[in-house]
Symmetry: C2
Subunit: 282 residues, 2 copies
Amino acid sequence: MTDPDRLALNTATTKQWTLQQAIDGAVHAGIRGLGVWRDRVAEVGAVRAGRMLTEAGLTVTSLCRGGFLTAADAGGIGDCLADNRSAIEEAAAVGTSELVLVVGGLPPGDRDLAGARLRVADRIADLVPFAATHGVRLVLEPLHPMYCADRAVLSTVAQALDLADPFPAETVGIVIDTFHVWWDPQLPGQIERAAAAGRLALYQVNDFLLPIAADALLSRGMMGDGCIDLADISTRVTAAGYTGPVEVEIFNADIWQQDGAEVVRTVIDRYRRLVLPFLGGS
Amino acid sequence: MTDPDRLALNTATTKQWTLQQAIDGAVHAGIRGLGVWRDRVAEVGAVRAGRMLTEAGLTVTSLCRGGFLTAADAGGIGDCLADNRSAIEEAAAVGTSELVLVVGGLPPGDRDLAGARLRVADRIADLVPFAATHGVRLVLEPLHPMYCADRAVLSTVAQALDLADPFPAETVGIVIDTFHVWWDPQLPGQIERAAAAGRLALYQVNDFLLPIAADALLSRGMMGDGCIDLADISTRVTAAGYTGPVEVEIFNADIWQQDGAEVVRTVIDRYRRLVLPFLGGS
């Protein structure tokens, strides 16, 4: 019951660690899954990264991230498709079926939000066949609306599921990241919708801190340090039928200053107390 | 066509001005409406403020603000009701039917978001009869989700309209503030819903700036300085049938450092170029 079977460490949480250190740290702590960012994969190349992860006995729960799909000009669209095809190949090479996509914000000087959102839909359609042939699912990540202008015009779970609807569930899924969606009045119903559609690809936990950090991307906190009701959301995710990994992904400058092993100990402790009891089962 | 008939200045935009200065500044600039905050009203008292505004020939487009309805303890609930009854009386005294409510965030240490939202509904029900007898409408303001924890658990127009539904349209309305709702994928449909229900009490314009200010409340910018498509939203508000005031409400430390008359000139210029052409009519 307290064995962290489903707990996965995302390498963003221990940004102070190389891929090798993250692998060693996870294994040492008894964590069985690792969500990896492309900067860590780039240290050794995707094929070697995949071999290292496999040999360590770790499940790769996700590759983070592809996306930035909102370019309006032909050159930008071409670059975006090329980069995302690389990310799809990397996901397959490191051994995960789940490629998280942060869809991108408004192009510089552009205020046409509806247009940017339509282009996201177009780029997903462009990428799905390539992803499918690689056995990789495009996992859409709704980001907190505070990032709508510069990071992701995809702001809610409902919107992500609307984007996913035209495609088979094994090709387009969504991730629930508590930091991004905890505020959403529609969250309970949309968690059910995502799970019922077979699209709930990943559950990421962390917390929402105030005040918002000077670099707003770094406002995420350790579970229990903020205002998110992790018990409630975890219970709902579980009740909806989700049995997959629970990734801890935290962007936080203070946490990145700490010893990585200490961070992982805190992650496990908080997970056991604040998340695991609400995941059901044994 | 370029006469700013519907333009109203909100006193928060010229926080450097007293009520008297704001009245004089608006009249001098040819602005016919003023949205007033309670701190400005408190300078002279509500009855005298109402007389000053009437004598200046200004329409009071709103009183900002009541709210902070999320207290869970009997003492906090009693204080909140007393304060909001005072705000209702003030609104009537200064001569406006529209009292904007910022509903409040999570109580300190509380993570029960659903519970806080239910209490908001309960407090609205408590206040509606008192407001109705004073001819005052409670105008619910959805705030950007970045303020969900500390300022307003009311995050979307849909949620505001759901809260308003049980009450007559003349007692509970909503305000569309572009800063707070521009990111919402449901905005177009919810503007139509609000107008069709007779609940679109006020339209406030401003802009969304990045990076988010150190004091996140002050991230609002002058129309045209940020990423909001004011043409699109203004067109939708107009198409939905809204013919009421267009208030400029901006919280911005830089703007508060400027000469108030210069701020008002910029407000009028930006309004004429970026908002008025999309309000229809002549």
